[in-house]
Structure formats: structure tokens, C-alpha cells
């Protein structure tokens, strides 16, 4: 290359031949970059259509069920929801138990009472949750009606299921994706903060899922024991039973089997 083509950065302009080369190079870089961007988006896994109504507050009325996890058994239909019950979760990466405890410290026991709560709806795939966004201020009122305790039938036998332990708050709408390796740390934080663990099991030969709320024996809190198993494929043994429109799976964390090497 002749000295006429020597590039000096502080000069006003670069040599014409260099300029021509750089223009072609930038075009090439542009084409490569566009190809990478298109490939990445096109071959990306699709997101689910779950919803987090961020910024919208909804009031729900139902019977408060405290155990094993705080829920509302809806007594008034909600247009957006297609479920009998709503799982309650706290603000951020926390469960609703401490919030409901704070409310009960003011209002007295609310278990099995019909109450109205305000919060942010999270829903998808037939499951609904209510985030008590304003913490104890999420409580609106109680009607004075109440119901008898739920009858629990635990005659089922031990079953074995394979799937992923998720935090339902993120999975059913707050985050996309709210599953797998990239969400693992967040799910661990959420379960550690008391959000009820949900076990997602894919139906055979179908892209549909069944969801189980996990607990220890008689509804014992086992979130901390489950943390090492979150966000990966595991096989669990447990006793299922119906709880409102949920299926609870009582498990002994020591009996679980971890199948490694595959993320959903």
C-alpha cells in the first residue's frame, strides 16, 4: 500500500480507497448483524400468553382460605378469571402469609370468612393469583358471611410425576419466561420468600400442563427444602388431593428424585 493510502485518524478525512473499503465493510457488518438478529428472534422460544395486570387494581370477593396457602374461594365472578379460587401472593418476591397475618392482627381471624381484597391480577392457563400490591392496605372489607371448613379427601395413593418446580407468581404472568434455567435464581428467591411452590407437569404427547401446589405432610411449609430442585426437571412422589380447584401434592422432599441434564 502506498503512503498516499496511509490512514491517520486525526486528519480530516481518510484516504479515498480506505473510505471505499470501510463503506463496504460497514455494509457487510450490517448484513451480518441483521442476519444474527433475525435468526435469534425467529428461533426464539415463544412466550406464553399469561397476564400480569401491572398498574391495574382489582377488587375480588371470596372466602379466605388460610391453609395450606392463602387463597380466596371466589364468591363473585370476575370477568377476567376462569377459576374458582385465587392464590394470594405478596408484593415483590414474597408470599401473602405475613400480609394476611398483619391484616388479621387488625381485623381478627379471617379464615373461612368472606372478604374483599384489592390487588393486581395474575392469570393464565386456567390459574389465577392476586398480588396484594398494597400489602396490608389490600384489605377492603368483610361481608359477615363465612363457610364451613373444606373437606379433604386424602384416600389417594402415592403417585410419581416428572416436571419443573416453579414460582407461580412469575410463571403465570409477571415474568416471561418464568421457567427454566434463566429464571431459576428468581424462582429460588420467590419460593424462599414464601410464594407457594407449583409443580408443572406436561401431559403426555401434548403441549398442555397440569399444575400441583406442593406442600409437606398436612400442609407443612417445605419451600426451603425445595430450593435446590427449582428450575430444572425433577421427579417427585407424593399424595395428591383436591383443594378447591387446585390439586395439592403432599410430598416428602427426601423422596424426590432429581433427573439432571434437561431444562424445560
Amino acid at each position: 500500500m502506498s503512503s498516499d493510502n496511509f490512514y491517520v485518524g486525526w486528519q480530516d478525512d481518510m484516504p479515498p480507497s480506505t473510505k471505499k473499503f470501510i463503506k463496504k465493510l460497514l455494509l457487510f457488518i450490517g448484513l451480518i448483524t441483521v442476519s444474527i438478529v433475525v435468526l435469534i428472534v425467529v428461533f426464539q422460544k415463544p412466550f406464553n400468553n399469561h397476564v400480569f395486570e401491572f398498574g391495574n387494581t382489582t377488587e375480588l370477593t371470596g372466602v379466605y382460605i388460610a391453609k395450606p396457602y392463602p387463597m380466596l374461594q371466589l364468591t363473585h365472578n370476575s370477568a377476567a378469571l376462569n377459576s374458582e379460587s385465587v392464590l394470594l401472593v405478596g408484593f415483590g418476591k414474597f408470599g401473602a402469609e405475613s400480609i394476611m397475618q398483619d391484616i388479621e392482627n387488625e381485623e381478627g381471624s379471617l379464615d373461612l370468612n368472606e372478604i374483599t381484597l384489592a390487588g393486581t391480577l395474575i392469570y393464565g392457563d386456567g390459574v389465577a393469583l392476586l398480588e396484594l400490591t398494597n400489602k396490608a392496605q389490600s384489605y377492603v372489607s368483610r361481608s359477615g358471611n363465612f363457610r364451613q371448613p373444606l373437606v379433604i379427601d386424602k384416600n389417594s395413593e402415592l403417585i410419581t410425576l416428572t416436571g419443573e418446580i416453579l414460582d407461580p407468581k412469575c410463571y403465570f404472568g409477571v415474568m416471561k419466561p418464568g421457567e427454566g434455567k434463566i429464571h431459576k435464581s428468581c424462582a429460588i428467591r420467590c419460593l424462599s420468600g414464601g410464594i407457594p411452590p407449583v409443580f408443572r407437569v406436561q401431559d403426555d404427547n401434548a403441549n398442555t400442563f397440569r399444575y400441583y401446589l406442593l406442600s409437606g405432610k398436612d400442609g407443612a411449609y417445605i419451600n426451603q427444602e425445595l430450593l435446590p430442585l427449582v428450575g430444572q426437571v425433577v421427579t417427585l412422589q407424593g399424595i395428591p388431593y383436591s383443594h378447591l380447584d387446585w390439586t395439592l401434592l403432599e410430598i416428602d422432599p427426601k423422596l424426590n428424585t432429581l433427573i439432571s441434564g434437561k431444562n424445560e
Binding site: 480530516d12 480506505t18 448483524t33 416471561k176 427454566g180 435464581s185 429460588i188 420468600g193 441434564g261 431444562n263
Partner: protein
């Protein structure tokens, strides 16, 4: 040592460089976001920000790492090198957006401090597929921060070129950590072969260019060394072993030679003072002159002559610097002969 701070000295080509750089960044962000919103309208704003910033920083990091070897292989790539530090700082800022949003999204508003959570939430250090990949990204971001924070010439002068260059070689460690971060993180979820293919091609391109540049450089060095040997030069010592404004003495082919380093130059003269045979190689450069440690007799390093009105003269020797090593031709020049000093490359 006093260091003067100078603001960025803008010129037309630097401005053009930054305009093109930010057009590329804006183009990636716009295209990626638009495609996401059209093909995956369910995406959340947080996920869009995390993925857009990740992709943009990742593409720029590859570009940064390829510029060096490309410019060594073909000088037409030199304009890309000219303002590479702005490219590096821009890449860091975008990576910082990715890191900050990820930490807020996945670790904030929980029962543990978010930074502590990055290191403790996933303890599967023994597994590759389950490895806590966010830690790798976190460490890479720290390295990139150190590099971005010290990218100005102020730090180049303040830290010394050796320390500065050593610190900035950390980009390769950061790159390795980023590759591992992506492979054990995003690609454990987005595991389509196309994703693995893009990662592999990017890594291979960076590695191959470095290998080719290294082969070319070695060829040039080998040719330089062969020529030097043919011309009678002998490799004697590392430039770095000579103190600045000082000397090292060597004894080769029965010649006692003092090699001086001064003003980014290297010169060699006979190591014996004309006054009382003092060891000049133990002296220093004072006021631009070789100064004998015994009685302060002085000589000009390029020609070995005492400054006028003095008349003493030393033998001088031809010198070269190849790949950080000083080469000397031990055949002495007649006393007082001017010899072009070897100019050290600016770091």
C-alpha cells in the same frame, strides 16, 4: 509523577466513528425490538430490555475483539481501531444495562440483598448445565467496568503503559466469562441449534483471526530476526530490563557495551569513560547526556561525543529493537560516529 488531564480531543473522524457506532447500536435495538414485538408480542418490557442489551453488547464485544487482529492482517481495517475505546465504553454501558436490569428483575424485592443473591441463590457450582451463570456475567461486567473506567489516556499515563495494557488484556478473560455465561445461561433455555451455531461461529471467528494475526506477526518477526542476524546483530536483553534514563552493560564478542534507554529511544556506546575508565553503564542520562557515575563526564548517546567544548569521543554501536528485545551489532563504529537510535514503539 505529574499527570495532566486532557478532555477528549475530538476530531472529525472520531465524531464520524461515534455517529456510525451509535447508528449500528440504534439499528440493532430498533430491529431486535421491532421483530420481538411483531413475532412475540407477549414479551414483557423487562425481558425486551434484558435481551436487547445482551445481544447488542455481545455483538459489539465480538467486533471489538476482531478489530485488533484484522488491523494487523490488513491496514485497511485501521480506521476501526482508531476510536475503539469509545466502542469499548459504549459496549460496557450497554452491558451494564443488561446486568442492572437482570439483577433487579431476578434478585431484587426478595428476602436477600440482590448482590448477595446473585452469588447464593443457585449453589449448583458442581454442575455445568445448572451452573450459576449469572456470577460469570457479573465478574465479566466488573472487568469491563475496570477497563471502561481506565480507558482514558489519563490512566494510561498514570498507571504506566505496562500496567494499563495488562489490565486491558482482561478483555479476553471477560470474553471467556461472557461465552460461558451465555452457554450455561441463556442457551440452557433457548437451546435451538441456531443459537449454539451463532455462539460457535462468533467464538471461532474471534479465535481464528487471532491465530492468523499471530502467525503473520511471527512471520514478520522471524524475518526481522533473520535479517538482524545476517547483518551481524546479536540479541542481548529485554528493553524492559533497562531502567528509564539508565543503562545496562553487556559484554559480547569482546566488546564492553553500555545500552541506554532514554526519551523512548535506545542507543549503545562503549562502556568505558574516557576520563578514568569509569563504568558508563552504571551512570544515568542527565540533561540528555550519558553521565559517568565517577566524575560526571558526559557524552551524547547518539554519537558518543562529549558536548562541546569537550572533545572526548566513544565508540558507538548499531542497535535494533525487535519484539521488545534489544539487538546490538558488536562491531564498534569509529569513535564519535552518529548512529540512529532505535525508537521504542509507543504502547
Amino acid at each position: 509523577m505529574g499527570v495532566n488531564y486532557k478532555a477528549v480531543q475530538w476530531n472529525r473522524q472520531k465524531k464520524n466513528y461515534d455517529v456510525v457506532l451509535w447508528m449500528i447500536i440504534g439499528g440493532i435495538v430498533l430491529l431486535f425490538s421491532s421483530l420481538q414485538l411483531v413475532i412475540h408480542p407477549e414479551i414483557t418490557a423487562e425481558t425486551l430490555i434484558i435481551r436487547t442489551s445482551a445481544l447488542t453488547a455481545f455483538v459489539l464485544l465480538h467486533l471489538i475483539l476482531m478489530i485488533g487482529p484484522l488491523a494487523r492482517l490488513d491496514t485497511r481495517f485501521l480506521p476501526l481501531l482508531y476510536n475503539r475505546r469509545h466502542l469499548g465504553v459504549s459496549m460496557f454501558l450497554i452491558a451494564l444495562i443488561h446486568g442492572a436490569f437482570s439483577i433487579i428483575q431476578f434478585h431484587a424485592l426478595g428476602d436477600v440483598n440482590p448482590i448477595v443473591s446473585v452469588f447464593t441463590s443457585n449453589p449448583n457450582y458442581q454442575s455445568i448445565s445448572e451452573f450459576p451463570f449469572q456470577i460469570l456475567g457479573f465478574i465479566a461486567l466488573l472487568i469491563l467496568f475496570l477497563m471502561a473506567a481506565t480507558s482514558h489516556d489519563f490512566w494510561l499515563k498514570n498507571l504506566s503503559p505496562e500496567i494499563w495494557k495488562g489490565l486491558h488484556m482482561g478483555v479476553y478473560l471477560a470474553y471467556g466469562l461472557v461465552i460461558a455465561h451465555v452457554a450455561t445461561g441463556a442457551l440452557q433455555y433457548e437451546n435451538h441449534p441456531v443459537y449454539w451455531g451463532i455462539l460457535f461461529v462468533g467464538f471461532t471467528a474471534v479465535a481464528t483471526l487471532h491465530i492468523f494475526a499471530s502467525i503473520k506477526e511471527n512471520k514478520v518477526l522471524t524475518a526481522l530476526k533473520t535479517n538482524a542476524v545476517n547483518e551481524g546483530f546479536v540479541e542481548v536483553l529485554n528493553v524492559e530490563s533497562i531502567p528509564i534514563s539508565g543503562a545496562k552493560a553487556v559484554f559480547i564478542h569482546n566488546q564492553n557495551i553500555a545500552i541506554f534507554r532514554y526519551l523512548n529511544r535506545i542507543s549503545a556506546v562503549h562502556n568505558v569513560c574516557k576520563h578514568q575508565m569509569g563504568p558508563l553503564g552504571e551512570g544515568e542520562i542527565v540533561d540528555g547526556c550519558i553521565t559517568c557515575p565517577w566524575h560526571g563526564y558526559q557524552y551524547i548517546p547518539e554519537n558518543g561525543r562529549a558536548p562541546e567544548p569537550f572533545i572526548e569521543k566513544l565508540h558507538t554501536y548499531s542497535v535494533k529493537v525487535i519484539d521488545g528485545k534489544v539487538w546490538v551489532n558488536p562491531t564498534p563504529k569509529p569513535e564519535g560516529t552518529y548512529v540512529e537510535p532505535a525508537i521504542l514503539e509507543q504502547q
